[in-house]
Amino acid sequence: SQTIHQWPATLVQPVGSPLSLECTVEGTSNPNLYWYRQAAGRGLQLLFYSVGIGQISSEVPQNLSASRPQDRQFILSSKKLLLSDSGFYLCAWSVRFTGEQFFGPGTRLTVL
């Protein structure tokens, strides 16, 4: 069966420090991969999506970037964190050309 992992579960970082959040999927090949940010009262905001290795599309301009170095690995990064980057980050995957997505456990990021 397919599983999706995210780490770390929680992270506290100072403003201006770098960020790397990792997401891996098991049990499937060529998934679509997504990064969302979940903020209270603002729902889920799609940040990035990827349909293949090295293929990244950004939905909103921001201080973050994403990479997909392997088929089932998706990384969210920042060179310098801002206070506004605090939030709950969710990784998700889907079988291509279907709408249903499967979510990871999320990472709670606090920038101080």
């Binding site: 799609l46 969710l90 999320g106």
Partner: protein, 111 residues
């Protein structure tokens, strides 16, 4: 523009009362609609999708294209239904099959 609107941030009901979580959408094609649920300390997970037309945990949702709505209903709420509920739309275009989510409604069921 593609958009999902959930007008209620919080819905509080008593156990055994009917529940209706509202969802309206804006989409210029044939949408695929979903309801996702997030229970406390659990992952966001799919509750149901309109194309399957099934009842999950007593919940149903009917796509009304005329009113562009996909409201989630349950005749008798249970305390274990307390959770955050998100309505989502499968869009096309730049985001491929990425989901467009509403802002979510917190359902609180008390005894």
């Amino acid at each position: 523009a593609q958009r999902v609107t959930q007008p209620e941030k919080l819905l509080s009901v008593f156990k055994g009362a009917p529940v209706e979580l509202k969802c309206n959408y804006s989409y210029s094609g044939s949408p695929e609609l979903f309801w996702y649920v997030q229970y406390s300390r659990q992952r966001l997970q799919l509750l149901l999708r309109h194309i399957s037309r099934e009842s999950i945990k007593g919940f149903t949702a009917d796509l009304n294209k005329g009113e562009t709505s996909f409201h989630l209903k349950k005749p008798f709420a249970q305390e274990e239904d307390s959770a955050m509920y998100y309505c989502a739309l499968s869009g096309t275009g730049q985001a491929g099959t990425a989901l467009i989510f509403g802002k979510g409604t917190t359902l609180s069921v008390s005894s």
